[in-house]
């Protein structure tokens, strides 16, 4: 029976690693709070979207649709489409979580925000580490991101217009993902994945509710898989 008791060092390492990735979410959360108040959405319900859904882009879409008086079905399907990329995250992380307690495998997905995926997938300290370390590392990063997110949305609701448009702070999110992209491209198949996925996402940007995004990821992953096979064959003696 493997020991899965609390690992303080892993938990703190998870927080330390996610910290810079969590910062760009703050202005985004503030803006989300502002959207809730300016559209007269019940503040408790609007704020609760941050811990019920815990995914910024889909919350933004849901709140805008609520403000427009869209039907529940339209809102739910939109959120599902925007968040469908998480299926790919879940599939990619699955092998890393095999052997962890079932309780954890049901709790962990709740925290599977883009940044948590990036950390769980690429953080160098996780290479060759124990299951126990990886589990508490993930929970540390997830708990920290969760806390930052629910607090930023709350401040956005309570304080309102604190983010000045001219500071362009909203651009911190594109910069964050650009940085994560640069971190995650480690070899030629990775580069193929990025080029294919990025191009498809741009061409398919007008497809309904971010389905161009999912299509881009799926095609990018498939292209990388094929490229990897070809490269291996080419390098074989």
């Amino acid at each position: 029976m493997t020991d899965f008791s609390f690992d303080r060092r892993a938990f703190v390492d998870g927080i330390t690693t996610i910290f810079p990735l969590a910062i760009p979410g703050v202005p985004f959360g503030l803006v989300l709070g502002l959207i809730i108040t300016t559209n007269d959405i019940d503040p408790w319900a609007g704020w609760s979207s941050s811990w019920l859904i815990l995914a910024g882009a889909s919350q933004l879409a849901a709140l805008n649709l609520i403000a427009d008086g869209a039907s529940a079905a339209v809102i739910i399907v939109s959120v599902l489409l925007i968040n469908s990329r998480h299926i790919m995250y879940s599939a990619a992380l699955r092998p890393k979580f095999v052997g962890m307690p079932a309780k954890f495998r049901y709790l962990a997905p709740y925290f599977l925000i883009d940044q948590c995926f990036a950390v769980a997938d690429t953080a160098p300290e996780l290479e060759g580490s124990s299951l126990r370390y990886r589990m508490w590392h993930f929970l540390g990063s997830g708990a920290f991101l969760w806390t930052m997110w629910v607090i930023s949305v709350a401040i956005g609701i309570l304080v309102g217009d604190v983010v000045r448009e001219e500071w362009s702070l909203s651009f911190a999110v594109p910069l964050l993902f650009t940085g994560l992209l640069a971190l995650s491209v480690k070899n030629r198949p990775g580069l193929v994945a990025a080029i294919v996925a990025g191009s498809v996402a741009v061409v398919g940007r007008d497809l309904p509710q971010g389905s161009g995004l999912l299509l881009g990821i799926v095609l990018g992953v498939a292209a990388a898989g094929i490229a990897e096979g070809r490269l291996e064959k080419a390098s074989a003696p």
Partner: protein, 105 residues
């Protein structure tokens, strides 16, 4: 009430997307070529998210207006490639954006 139920349903579908494979554990293994390809989810996903965001607005149609954003994103990427330092990448990326805006671009 409808609002709450809608948000709860949104939370459930989001959790379902995230739990899908992780909760499955080692039941139903995928074919090895698929498992191998899945190691490239990160570069694919982050490119699919970042590229349209950086191009912003109407994308190619507004290409010239996006120069500060393209430069800022290039700075952020270069810092990562050179130093693998995320706070520095975000910081210098934002500074580049502000400088170009201040210069009137």
């Amino acid at each position: 009430m409808t609002l709450w139920l809608t948000l709860i349903a949104c939370g459930i579908v989001t959790y379902a997307t995230r739990a899908s494979f992780i909760a499955l554990g080692d039941r139903m293994p995928l074919p090895p070529p698929v498992e191998r390809a899945l190691r490239y989810v990160a570069p694919a996903a982050f490119a699919a998210i970042a590229v349209p965001l950086v191009l912003g607005g109407d994308g190619f149609a507004e290409f010239s207006a996006d120069i500060p954003r393209l430069v800022a994103a290039s700075v952020a990427a270069a810092v990562i490639v050179k130093w693998k330092n995320m706070p520095l990448s975000l910081g210098l990326g934002m500074v580049a954006l502000w400088l170009l805006h201040w210069a009137g671009l």
